[in-house]
């Protein structure tokens, strides 16, 4: 219960942050050249000034900035993100359609990066300064320096064009009418390349942190105690070292959640996935500022949620946090 109240307090503390972000970005968007009405008029192929004026009044754009901001925040409290003139739907609907793909991609990439980062980090730390360590660390450095979108393009060239093993984009095969398990497998096949592309840089970061953290914990007294008790090495690693060495990794998930969401903008564009990141890109290009603001709000919420979950995991891994030491 204490865990929940602790994490809950952290959650409550993030509400001012959320308001700060919204107000800041809202004010920033006031400087944007042209508003939604301009974009709509351009889409309609132009129109007279009166129509524009009517539309502005309809969307409440003729009010003062502070009144507009007040309106926006008041509507947000009721979970109304406004209306997207470009898509002709409420922003909340547009975002809800795009959110699953992004969450799927992020979860897959995070699991991939975390799992392999952990294993490679442990292998590197156990053979520190020997060839497996050198190899893994070098590969990690190269992954870290690779622009994700470029890796994605090259993966398409190799796996989709030359070898024709994997699809080059989209979330499912449009010609297939498969349902149930076949449809799930189809989506999984489409997600392999995007997951690798987005996860690569995080894999590099995780394996580096895991290696450092393992090396640190391996030098602590309780590990020496465990060794002198006569425990075998595998048991020491899995039961004693790993649990402690995992803490910085878990912290990192929370810190990197935002970066990963940002990375999904690029990856979703490369693989034309219908996700939140791609929506953000499209709304920038189409000057759909209402949708952009909605995406900012939802992404901030997503990051805060990830951090909330990280807090819970953290408390579970390290009981000292809950006993308040």
């Amino acid at each position: 219960m204490r865990v929940l109240s602790l994490a809950g307090r952290r959650l409550a503390a993030s509400i001012p942050t959320l308001i700060l972000i919204l107000v800041g970005v809202f004010l920033l968007l006031q400087f944007a050249p042209g508003d939604t009405v301009d974009a709509m008029m351009a889409q309609m192929g132009g129109g007279d000034a009166r129509t524009a004026e009517d539309l502005r009044r309809f969307y409440g754009l003729d009010l003062s900035v502070s009144a507009q901001l007040g309106n926006y925040l008041w509507r947000l409290v009721r979970f109304d993100l406004g209306f997207s003139a470009i898509y002709g739907k409420p922003v909340a609907t547009v975002i809800a359609e795009r959110l699953p793909a992004t969450i799927l991609l992020m979860t897959a990439s995070l699991s991939f990066a975390f799992f392999f980062g952990l294993i490679l980090g442990v292998i590197a730390a156990r053979g520190v300064n020997k060839w497996p360590d050198t190899l893994i660390s070098t590969v990690g450095l190269i992954f870290y320096a690779t622009p994700s979108f470029w890796f994605g393009l090259m993966a398409i060239v190799v796996f989709s064009i030359y070898l024709q093993w994997l699809p080059a984009g989209g979330l499912s095969d449009i010609t297939s009418t498969a349902t149930g398990i076949r449809a799930v497998l189809d989506t999984a096949r489409h997600l392999i390349l995007p997951t690798l592309t987005l996860g690569l840089i995080f894999l590099a970061i995780y394996l580096r942190i895991m290696r450092a953290s393992m090396l640190e914990v391996l030098n602590l007294d309780f590990v020496r105690t465990a060794r002198s008790k006569g425990l075998d090495e595998t048991r020491i690693i899995t039961r004693h070292v790993l649990r402690n060495a995992l803490l910085p990794m878990v912290t990192l998930i929370g810190l990197q959640a935002g970066t990963m969401l940002g990375g999904s903008v690029v990856v979703e564009s490369v693989f034309s996935l219908p996700g939140l990141g791609r929506l953000a890109y499209e709304s920038v290009v189409q000057r759909d500022l209402n949708t952009l603001l909605g995406i900012i709000f939802v992404s901030a919420l997503l990051v805060i949620t990830v951090n909330f979950i990280v807090d819970l995991i953290y408390a579970r891994l390290d009981p000292r946090i809950t006993t308040g030491v």
Binding site: S14, L20, L141, A145, P147, L153
Partner: protein
């Protein structure tokens, strides 16, 4: 001298420095080797690399010399990496220093703002800034600097928190030094080394951020940027994949060079942490 010797003891750091020098040499020799505008039409489009001695790395979709774009692109990448990093580190140092030195409500307010910046995915904020202020190369550089300052700020703050009650600071205070003088004259020089090492990370990320923007065609189309070329090559990826492949390798090697130099500096400055 000791630091220089410690730096050159690591082979990775030497490789990094060598790569960085190559990139700098490319940037410096660009207008001498390729006196013509790199974005001007040079020959037939889509000439494969190593087939025509006039275009060692081939030409892109519209017949522009890829080698020239790579050399001029080195300038843009170094410019972006350098200037955006200076902006981010300067903002970070000022905010972190003030926050860590004064503590209390100043610290609270500034850390709230930092937290807001860190909660918002920085690439999304970058998109918003580009949408609002346009994609001129100067705007792009400043925008990248603005989204990258929170991490250096937190680092500086942490250093200040551990330094502000040390004896030399108390001595300075007893001598009647002003706050400004204490912050920038006494504490900052001691807090600087880790921040400078971290600047290499900021620089690597800045180069990657710009290339991603350029790939999405949201950066300045009128400069020879590596990211622009990758975005262009995407249209002909199916057969002429080299148009995208070559600039990507250039980005990879540059970012690798910057990271290796940063790591080498880190190991040289903190020998205790070596091998981590």
């Amino acid at each position: 001298m000791e630091i220089v010797r410690a730096y050159f003891r690591s082979p990775a750091a030497i490789v990094g420095l060598f790569l960085l020098l190559v990139v700098i040499a490319m940037a410096a020799s660009a207008s001498w080797l390729f006196p013509r505008d790199p974005l001007a039409l040079a020959g037939r489009p889509l000439v494969w690399p190593f087939t025509n001695p006039r275009f060692p790395l081939g030409t892109d979709n519209s017949g522009r010399d890829i080698a020239a774009q790579i050399f001029y692109g080195a300038r843009i990448s170094l410019l972006i990496g350098g200037v955006a990093t200076v902006i981010a580190v300067l903002i970070g140092i000022v905010i972190g220093a003030v926050s860590g030195y004064y503590g209390g409500w100043v610290d609270n307010v500034l850390m709230r703002i930092t937290e807001a910046f860190q909660t918002l995915p920085n690439f999304l904020l970058l998109l918003v800034l580009i949408a609002v202020f346009g994609s001129n190369i100067n705007t792009v550089i400043i925008a990248i600097g603005i989204v990258s300052w929170p991490a250096p700020a937190r680092l500086t703050r942490a250093e200040f928190l551990s330094l502000r009650n040390r004896e030399f600071v108390q001595a300075g205070r007893t001598l009647g030094l002003k706050d400004l003088k204490l912050i920038f004259g006494e504490i900052l020089p001691n807090a600087l080394p880790p921040v400078i090492v971290y600047a290499s990370v900021v620089m690597a990320v800045s180069i990657l951020l710009e290339s991603a923007l350029a790939f999405l065609r949201l950066s300045d189309p009128n400069v020879a940027s590596w990211g622009n070329l990758i975005g262009l090559g995407r249209d002909v990826l199916r057969v002429q994949w080299y148009v995208s492949a070559i600039p990507g390798i250039a980005i990879l090697l540059t970012v690798l060079a910057v990271s290796l130099v940063g790591q080498g500096l880190n190991d040289a400055l903190n020998p205790r942490l070596k091998g981590r």
